[in-house]
């Protein structure tokens, strides 16, 4: 915990600054409780320098045996065929840059029933090695089966870092592996960089109110789940072929304790369209009714885009949950995002703020969405959108 020196004047400044609520005033002095994470936010803000970080007592471990940046490849069933989830390719693209800075390789790890079909694509996105664990029993994701295969690979080949997609699958798998291997894991990162030989993992905290850089200086591999659609994907090694390392890992017997009885797919086509769409027209509370929301569908249709919705619109039943953009929905990064009648609650903002161009249309000039929009239109969506729809139709003729 943070050390509080006797010269504390009890001004309370640190109390309001602490992101974790670990500081309070007791008998006119600052007091720290066990919620303290030693983030250090309070230290520079104390006017009398009464807050101190405890001395570092850790021994420095030799971690030089750990090399290479690994990316866990997640496969997704799209229209009857397995394809690589785009976030894995985003991670290979980023991983290649990080590995180059570290003087190491970026490698893909793929677990499945028929991996060979994906080797060429993984290679073209820069993987210089592909670790492949293949068995018909790995056809369907199973926590125990996949985690024990990953633990075996990591223990044998000692990567310096392993990145996973921040998806339902990645966020189920990675913490299980981290627990077993006694390594750090940073959730839902939006940035990765190299500093002093460590990977700096940047993630939003408190619904995007603050950002935190996380490092794991004394444990390897460094692991993180990374949010889809925040990093670009790029073919960097067209035509090259990675070295393939086949590993045989028998499926853990414990895997049979969990059995899938039934799998139902959402409107998968549309969902994928949403997180891969270049144009998204999104509607919120300002549309007022389900009937009014229809204009969003029509506008998306004529502009060749996908339909998004705020949580308020989904909760009201105007649009299915699969269309929800935001923290509890899909994160999107289109070229154009048009927010119609969306006020811009943080939970929505974190899902769309990285869009290239944001147009916001809202009656309330003080709506937070305008802080994120390149173009802010202060007006009533119900009056403006029908005119826009007509005009777009005219230009298309």
């Amino acid at each position: 915990m943070i050390k509080i020196l006797p010269n504390c004047i009890g001004c309370g400044k640190c109390v309001s600054i602490c992101p974790f609520g670990a500081l309070s005033l007791v008998n006119g002095k600052a007091n720290v409780n066990s919620a303290c994470t030693l983030c250090g936010s309070c230290v520079p803000n104390c006017p009398v320098k009464a807050l101190q970080m405890p001395p570092k007592e850790e021994e420095v471990k030799d971690l030089s045996a750990y090399k290479d940046v690994w990316v866990f490849v997640e496969l997704v069933n799209a229209k009857g065929a397995l394809k690589i989830r785009p976030v894995s390719l985003e991670l290979l693209t980023k991983g290649r840059k990080l590995a180059a800075e570290l003087g190491q390789n970026v490698c893909a790890v793929i677990i499945g029933a028929d991996n060979g079909a994906h080797f060429a694509e993984l290679s073209s996105y820069g993987a210089s090695k592909i670790y492949s664990v293949q068995d018909p029993a790995y056809a369907q994701y199973n926590t125990e089966a996949y985690a024990s295969a990953m633990v075996k690979l990591i223990s044998k080949y000692k990567p310096a870092a392993v990145f996973y997609p921040s998806t339902y699958t990645g966020r189920d798998l990675a913490p299980r592996i981290a627990a077993e291997m006694f390594v750090g894991l940073t959730a839902d990162c939006t940035g990765l960089s190299v500093k002093n030989g460590n990977i700096v993992q940047t993630r939003p905290a408190f619904g995007g109110n603050i950002m935190a850089d996380i490092i794991c200086p004394n444990h390897r591999p460094q692991m993180a789940t990374v949010r889809p659609n925040v990093m670009p994907k790029e073919i960097t090694a067209q035509g090259s072929m990675a070295q393939i390392i086949e590993e045989v890992v028998p499926v853990s017997p414990a895997a049979s304790k969990v059995r899938v009885l039934k799998t139902e797919k959402d409107e998968v086509g549309e969902v994928e369209q949403l997180d891969e769409a270049q144009v998204i027209i999104s509607g919120g509370r300002g549309l007022k009714t389900k009937e009014n929301f229809e204009i969003i569908n029509n506008l998306a249709c004529v502009l060749g885009g996908a339909v998004g919705a705020s949580r308020a619109a989904v909760d009201a039943g105007w649009k299915a949950k699969e269309h929800q953009v935001g923290q509890s929905g899909v994160t999107v990064k289109p070229k154009l995002y048009v927010a119609c009648g969306i006020s811009g609650a943080l939970q929505h903002i974190v899902g769309m703020q990285d869009s290239d161009i944001i147009i916001a249309i809202n009656k309330d000039a003080n709506a937070p969405i305008f802080n994120y929009a390149k173009y802010g239109i202060v007006g009533d969506v119900q009056q403006i959108l029908p005119k826009v729809l007509e005009a777009v139709k005219q230009t298309k003729k």
Binding site: A178, V258, L261, T395
Partner: protein, 261 residues
């Protein structure tokens, strides 16, 4: 059947604001609440209790004031509360937290089902539940939206990417629960709160549960917070006002300028 529900007291993050001048969080006056996902997990545990007569214990790690959320859980119908509280836990990341909670779960005796919220709204990691499952050596099913239990098995509804699964698992197991988008936490009746006064609420320390000091607090936490900083400022956009006709013309102009139409 013994169920343990892991719960956490969190600041109500929906009410945390940012000071626009200093870019720091303004927490003054922000109430502490029972993490909503944990609240939903608890209601699901109590549903199983009603159906099977299971015994429900709530477990929380935190400072003494976290007793408030344990009392709330007792008032809602849990049978026993345990607060894991010790300065040795300070600075715990998700690894050390999972280890400490799992060690405490073992200390309670045989357990059939451990239930957690999918994540705490002050951390959003969703990592502690799977960590506990590993340390207990039991299967995990994460992001569940429904659960029922009978004959040494559970059947759960689970959210997957782009879909939903129905899963059966042998007990003992751990589940993490998501919550419906329109979930409104329920609050206890006066009678519930009255009876909660008589229910056991114990405080356990690191030594009491026999935890390995090398796996607690900072020592047990591989991650370090290197820096906390405000999100990057965004360039100011243009704002347009006018009649609906003017504004719709402006939108068309923008769409053309940005090569959308």
């Amino acid at each position: 059947m013994n169920i343990i529900v892991c719960i956490k007291q969190v600041p109500d993050s929906s009410r945390v604001k940012v000071d626009p001048k200093t870019s720091t969080l303004v927490r003054a006056g922000v109430p502490s609440i029972l993490n909503p996902y944990d609240h939903f997990a608890l209601t699901q545990a109590l549903k199983i209790k009603k159906a099977t007569g299971a015994n429900v214990t709530v477990l929380s790690m935190g400072p003494a004031q976290a007793k408030v959320v344990i009392r709330l859980a007792l008032a809602l119908g849990a049978d026993k509360g345990i607060l894991l509280s010790d300065r040795a836990f300070a600075g715990s990341d998700t690894w050390a937290t999972a280890y400490a909670l799992a060690t405490a779960v073992k200390k309670t005796g045989p357990v059939d089902l451990v239930m957690c919220g999918q994540m705490a709204i002050d951390g959003d990691t969703a990592q502690t539940g799977p960590g506990i499952a590993y340390h207990l050596g039991i299967p995990q099913i994460t992001f569940c939206d429904d659960i029922s239990a009978s004959n040494g098995k559970i059947t759960v509804g689970k959210i997957i990417d782009g879909g939903h699964q129905t899963i059966e698992a042998d007990l003992p197991a751990l589940v993490t629960m998501t919550m419906p988008p329109d979930y409104e936490p329920e609050y206890p009746s006066f009678l519930g709160a009255f009876h909660a006064q008589e229910k056991p609420l114990e405080t356990w320390t690191a030594a009491f549960i026999g935890a390995d000091p090398a796996k607690l607090g900072l020592k047990g936490s591989p991650t370090r917070v290197d820096r906390i900083f405000p999100p990057p400022a965004r360039p100011k956009g243009q704002v347009f006002r006018g009649s609906a006709a003017e504004l719709s013309a402006k939108v068309i102009e923008i769409l053309k300028k940005e090569n959308v139409i």
